[in-house]
Symmetry: none
Subunit: 124 residues, 4 copies
Amino acid sequence: MFVHVDPAHDLAIYDQIVRQIKFAVAHGAVGVGELVPSVRELARELAINPNTVARAYLQLQNENVLETVRGLGLAVAAGADKRCRQERGKLIQARLHQVLSEARHSGLELAEIRKLIEAELSEI
Amino acid sequence: MFVHVDPAHDLAIYDQIVRQIKFAVAHGAVGVGELVPSVRELARELAINPNTVARAYLQLQNENVLETVRGLGLAVAAGADKRCRQERGKLIQARLHQVLSEARHSGLELAEIRKLIEAELSEI
Amino acid sequence: MFVHVDPAHDLAIYDQIVRQIKFAVAHGAVGVGELVPSVRELARELAINPNTVARAYLQLQNENVLETVRGLGLAVAAGADKRCRQERGKLIQARLHQVLSEARHSGLELAEIRKLIEAELSEI
Amino acid sequence: MFVHVDPAHDLAIYDQIVRQIKFAVAHGAVGVGELVPSVRELARELAINPNTVARAYLQLQNENVLETVRGLGLAVAAGADKRCRQERGKLIQARLHQVLSEARHSGLELAEIRKLIEAELSEI
DNA sequence: GTGGTCTAGACCACC
DNA sequence: GTGGTCTAGACCACG
């Protein structure tokens, strides 16, 4: 399964599931039209409360990532792959913006910031 | 005053105060040994409950940023300025690391990441 | 239950709770990973305000003795047992040091101090 | 002067004064019948609030360590030296009792406690 | 059910 | 005046 969860993480469990499903959809790990695991199955697998999985799936439906296929379950919605990729890009950009602007406001010089960035990039 | 608070922000009010006091200490807006505004005064100024301010101040004491001067109030602890600056640096580095590694894991090419960074840096 | 509180004691109630939880952890009365009584339950049991219990638990989290398990409660953190035992040892040593050095400074002869100690030890 | 005060100490300032006066009396640093510094003089010397000194002196009068000498000030009361020495002895004994009993209750073996004590005694 | 946060108001010791 | 502690009761997100 492409989802794993860490109850000790500060992010809510249902949110971890949401993100990972979106991530999987963005990467094509699950294709458009494919069924995701049922609420009960995923809950059993992750050893968490089914309500938590249901909540994650509900949010994914509200964001048009998943859609119900009557009698079968939930499937990845048409266009969800593209939307997930876009969202991911925007998210990263927004976070990058926030970090860099905070770094600047906290008094670091541009040169110092560049140094930090290069150090991090070379690590990856 | 060097503290302002946004109750609509997702960060807890007491945490906003904690961060801003640390920020002020790191910048020298309040020097070592100086008194910070009293609990009641800051509460009145921010139009929040004194307990909330007290909680923020309590945490700052636990982190050795403030110390009580009995009967007078709370003062910036010795060495707090240096420690706050260091902490700030580490925090920024950690966040930068997280964002960049997430960017990399989400499939962006190094060249694309650099483009985003340059765009953000030039904005600042 | 392994916690009891004396409101007449000069030590703050929340601090009594903190110490007794640490004591229980050090002794293994509650094992690593086990849940401690919920805030509301302990408050009811001790007939005190839930906020007071919450404050004690907050401090125990800051000292890495407890950690939240979302939706379930607070559990003893990994390694907390060892840390609590160490802390207890250091505390006793520090207090012993203080008493003995005060005794010496107040003019008592070594022989007299030893007499006092033997008297106390035989009592225990 | 035989009194010095640390506002950062956790003990209340007035209590620090009380203890040090008693200590001085017990040692004979100030003899029976001798005058102690006036409230104003001591306050100026220690750079603290005169009310604080007054409170300490008040308590010392209540405990019959000092007595007023009309027109002159406060003097060490007759027999105060003996009483201070006795009190000091009892205090040390009580504290020793507390530390040793806590050490025992926290699970340390008698042999271990003795080791700690010897280590401390040899240091002094 | 759980903890986390916030408000409101009280009493205390200390300076 | 100051901070420290405690009570009472509310609302929230999470599982």
